[in-house]
Amino acid sequence: MQASTSVATELPATPRVAGKRRAAVAGGTAGLKRAHYRNSRLPFLLLLPQLLVLLLFFFIPAVRALVQAFVITDPFGTTVHFVWFDNFRALLASPEYRSSVWVTLWFTLTQNVLTLGVAAVLAFATDRVIRGRGLYRSIVLLPYAIAPVIAGILWAFMFNAHVGPMTYVLKALGVAWDPTRNGFDAFLLVTFAAAWKHICYDYIFLVAALLAVPASLLEAAAVDGAGPGLRFFKIALPMIGPTVFFLLVMNFVYGFFETFAIVDAVTKGGPGGATMILVYKVYLDGFVHIDLGSSAAQSVLLMIFAVILTMLQFRYVERNVNYDV
């Protein structure tokens, strides 16, 4: 249980990294810090409240999760055996855990591509919507105001195999839709629900980034005969690279940790584990089955996965991102 809170509170760390980097680049060698803070104690004092929060809600639970990962324990804590890496070994040997890793990877990847893709189209189209632009934006932003559980229930009901209105549409189109039995359908459903909920987040950032693209460049390209697609890919996209990269990382974090409520409401990880993403498994094994050792080991592994994935992205994707435009 500590594990999941630690995982959640770790989130703000990621954008800060991106932000700091950007600030460092923008500030150049002038040294932002030295210029603004003469008194060397002040920055630490200002940081203190946040550090306290981190200590309480992240570091202490994280350390406890780490300790818990190496023991097996009675839920009540009356019997505890130290088992070294048994919990990890059991996890890695279990076909269910490995399948959960794959499900998570596919889920975050698909969700990421889908979210960014749709958000990019919507954001670029914002400029081209002339009448009712306010309404357009409001509609696009609406899902963000809906709680994930509600969103999940909404999707679960809309696509329910027996009474869902969308199921009737799909059946009329000749699609044999049954997310209660068919794992792939369930996977699609969860992915779409998760992406739908997150598109608006990406959209806000992309619209803001696109606003910073000088209109003159786009107009010049238009005069030269570039269509909207070409203008987007050749001019706008490179200029909003840093934002896209930031969103990429954020989407992964979202897919890894924040889609819990949607999975819980839409499929509960079923059928047959087809939508059992890692964070949901941590919850199930920890909260429902009270297998604290395994659950702690899973959250440690999950954290490692997230760190590796983020590092990989910084290493390979960020290389192609130009912050100086």
């Binding site: 097996i72 009675d74 839920p75 804590g77 027996h162 997310p179 909260f287 297998d291």
Partner: protein
């Protein structure tokens, strides 16, 4: 933000004030007994009534009942509270949590407590499968509270239209009837798969047909038990269910729709579910409903079915004088009068034979024949090693594995045999882990 903060502070103030008001009156004579339970909605109101009746019946103790969410949340909340040394006195835990509670070192065995406090309880009067589930070394570890058994609910009209008086007693006959009902176009589906089907259609199938679920008398004789249901008639049962699902005889409601709705709305002809569904079926059904016993395999003598539900556990570590109140309250819960009333308003079975006899004498079952089915089914024959109950460690976890593997079977990802084999393999890993943790304690 500001508003919620203000509301929060207001709430604190209000709480502090009520605490301030309540404190002096408690301090005079009444001792508070904390009771956590998992009954929401109408059932929660019934629990509140039980507590009110008790509080009004005497002047020494005040039981405070708190709904802490569903069964999973209650056991988790209790664990967290116990670790923080803030556990309640009495807590309602589901039958699957038996081994976890028993070996937790955090409980006081109920029969010992009530004997020590000289409460007059006829321990041999409990309905057998109810008591046997919670027995350890011949003594009741927790106080049976809400017990149910799965029964077969059916739509009278569907069966009559198809020319049947009622569902046949065996699976073979029922199978033919459901196919007939569907092929004649009387109902869209024969049955709706309940969320707890692993209990009604797999576990209870094993007890009714006297099939072993695990070795060592289903775990009663040792922690070194292993699951064996992949080698029993459960395989045939799984194949049958799979065939029903493939043929559209059995429907899975899926998230966002309650399986019971498929039955009570008249879409599906039958529903295998707890007798405790009486209260909601009576309220919601738009159909002519009735119920009967769970079917059994052709050629076998049916045994008792197993129970589901929860019992009241007493937690260790409270003030010595509080246990007088705990014992008093539990004796009240087990009294025939209360049990009689409780079973009538909830649909759970009366847990003692005295309460059952009293209901019968009143003519309650003549007026409500379906209410008697569960208890007749529980009292059928003498429980065997296969039908007395299930004592498996971390049982929620292995049950989940079974459910997940069966979902894979429904999805055509595994054959029934493969699915059950995998469920048994995963279940046995869980049992070994439990054995390792509690070696020498059982």
């Amino acid at each position: 933000m500001d508003k919620t903060k203000r509301a929060f502070v207001g709430g604190l103030l209000a709480a502090a004030m009520t605490a301030g008001i309540a404190a002096p009156s408690c301090a005079q004579q009444r001792t508070e007994i904390q009771f956590w339970h998992a009954m929401g909605g109408v059932l929660g109101e019934r629990v509140d009534e039980v507590v009110k009746r008790y509080n009004d019946s005497q002047t020494r103790f005040t039981v405070v009942a708190t709904n802490k969410g569903n069964y999973d949340e209650v056991i988790n909340g209790t664990i967290a509270a116990y670790r923080a040394k803030k556990a309640p006195h009495v807590v309602q835990i589901y039958e699957r949590g038996f081994m976890t509670m028993l070996l937790s070192d955090a409980i006081v065995p109920v029969q010992d407590l009530l004997t020590e406090k000289k409460k007059q309880i006829d321990w041999s009067d409990f309905i057998k499968p109810v008591a046997s589930y919670y027995l350890y070394k011949g003594k009741l570890m927790s106080m049976p509270f809400n017990s149910s058994a799965p029964i077969l609910w059916y739509n009278k009209e569907h069966f009559e239209k198809a020319g049947f008086k009622e569902p046949g007693p065996t699976w073979q006959e029922l199978d033919k009837q459901l196919y007939a009902i569907k092929s004649k176009g009387i109902a869209e589906c024969g049955s709706s798969l309940a969320g707890d089907f692993f209990w009604s259609l797999i576990e209870n199938y094993s007890t009714v047909n006297d099939q072993p679920f695990g070795t060592k008398a289903n775990g009663y004789d040792g922690l070194d038990t292993v699951f064996v249901y992949n080698k029993t008639k459960v395989v045939e049962q799984t194949k049958r269910l799979k065939k029903w699902i493939d043929d559209g005889i059995m429907q899975i409601a899926g998230q966002g729709l309650s399986p019971e709705q498929l039955y009570t709305s008249g879409k599906c002809s039958t529903f295998f579910a707890s007798t405790a569904a009486h209260s909601s079926v009576e309220r919601n059904a738009t159909i002519k409903w009735s119920a009967t016993y769970l079917p059994w395999e052709e050629g076998t003598t049916p045994r008792n079915s197993s129970i589901g539900g929860a019992t009241l556990w007493v937690m260790k570590g409270q003030k010595a004088e509080d246990y007088d109140g705990v014992a008093d309250f539990l004796a009240f819960v087990a009294s025939p009068d209360l049990q009689l009333w409780w079973s009538k308003v909830t649909g759970y079975v009366p847990i003692t034979n005295k309460a059952y006899e009293a209901a019968k004498k009143e003519g309650y079952y003549t007026a409500n024949p379906t209410r008697e089915i569960a208890i007749l089914q529980l009292n059928r024959g003498t429980p065997t090693a296969n039908s007395q109950g299930f004592h498996f460690g971390n049982y929620t976890q292995s049950t989940f594995a079974l459910r997940q593997e069966l979902e894979a079977v429904w999805a055509n990802k595994k054959t029934p045999q493969e699915g059950l084999d995998d469920a048994v393999r995963r279940g046995n890993d869980i049992l070994r882990q439990f054995e390792k943790l509690h070696a020498g304690k059982y």
